[in-house]
């Protein structure tokens, strides 16, 4: 059976009631893995508390950090500092140099772009770099749901082009809610239906909500495990008799 993943929940972390409500709603809608955007300097005890809340509800928590660097150097600095702290790293590519650096860096998992279609730099060059570095294109549905009229039409048109490029260069697409409250959450099938508006076929849409994010989480969890040595190499037994 397909396991649905919402890699981008943005609840208010200070309000535990709100947080529980959102995670509970995600579970009710069929998600079994949720990624919550956390501040880079979050304390470990707070993460443990979040994990406990998610476990009690029946959802697996994925720790995620959203980086919004102004320059490529800033991105590299942040990646060095945070890569081993979080399971998923997303970069908001606000400028072309940042977008290119993020796409070629293997430590970046998700490439996000602003809603303004003139500032979306996911072109063929970006896709080629992302494909080599195993980065995915993230599409946040909350933005699409909140926009109306001309701006949404422009964004649909831009996303249609991006989805086509991503498919051609084998860049996985990850569809996530990006929801700040439960009213912006939808079922995976509803999101997949909504994604057909930018010509992402239903099976691909469902894949963008299940296999693609799940692959990222699996890969990163393996890398973050103490037994990981290198790609394809891991410690299977420790001790004197090895």
């Amino acid at each position: 059976m397909r396991r649905f993943v919402d890699l981008h929940l943005r609840p208010s972390l200070g309000d535990l009631n709100h947080l529980e409500k959102m995670i509970g709603k995600s579970y009710e809608l069929g998600y079994r893995l949720v990624g919550i955007s956390l501040p880079p300097d979050i304390r470990q005890d707070k993460v443990e508390l979040l994990k406990k809340i998610c476990n009690d509800i029946g959802v697996d928590l994925v720790t995620r950090v959203d980086l919004t660097p102004k320059k490529p150097q800033e991105l590299l600095r942040e990646l060095r500092r945070l890569r081993r702290k979080f399971e998923v790293i997303s970069v908001m590519c606000d400028s072309k140099p940042v977008a290119r650096q993020a796409a070629k860096d293997r430590r970046v998992d998700l490439l996000s772009f602003p809603t303004d279609s003139r500032r979306r730099f996911f072109d063929q060059a970006e896709a080629e770099l992302a494909s080599q570095a195993l980065a995915s294109l993230e599409i946040s549905m909350a933005l699409l749901l909140s926009l109306r009229g001309e701006s949404r039409t422009r964004l649909f048109s831009r996303l249609r082009r991006e989805a086509e490029i991503a498919e051609r260069f084998n860049v996985p697409i990850v569809v996530s809610s990006g929801a700040t409250d439960e009213y912006l959450l939808r079922t995976p099938h509803d999101y997949a239906a909504f994604a057909t508006l930018f010509d992402l076929a239903k099976p691909l849409g469902l894949r963008a909500l299940s296999h693609n994010p799940l692959d990222i989480v699996k890969r990163n969890r393996e890398k973050l495990s103490p037994n990981y040595v290198a790609l394809g190499v891991r410690i299977i037994k420790r001790g004197k008799n090895c």
């Binding site: 439960e182 009213y183 912006l184 939808r186 509803d190 999101y191 239906a193 909504f194």
Partner: protein, 105 residues
């Protein structure tokens, strides 16, 4: 000979702070389909409201089976009714009303 038009029945859950009445819901759904697909697209949807239960926050819609994804997308795009935040989820889809009621209600 004309082929029989196949239909799909959808059961919806409406999440809102306030109770949404039947007229407002129907208006919101039609507006959403019109906004996303225009008059030509909406004419292919063959949309009909079977029932709305404001107390249980549930509704049943019928549409052409070819337009199911269009209806789902339109329902997902509804974020407010009467300036109040709303979310509409599709709980289930079926080919007959009988099996829809049996499975989801």
């Amino acid at each position: 000979m004309l082929r029989r038009v196949r239909q799909r029945y959808l059961v919806l859950r409406i999440m809102s702070e306030e109770t949404v009445n039947k007229e407002d819901l129907i208006k919101a759904v039609w507006n959403a389909v019109l906004q996303l697909y225009g008059e030509y697209g909406t004419s292919q949807v063959n949309l009909a409201t079977i029932e709305v239960d404001p107390e249980r926050n549930c509704a049943i819609l019928r549409c052409s089976h070819k337009a199911l994804e269009m209806v789902r997308a339109s329902l997902a795009s509804i974020t407010e009714i009467n300036a109040k935040p709303v979310a509409i989820y599709v709980l289930g889809v079926s080919g007959t009303l009988k099996s829809l009621r049996k499975k989801f209600l």
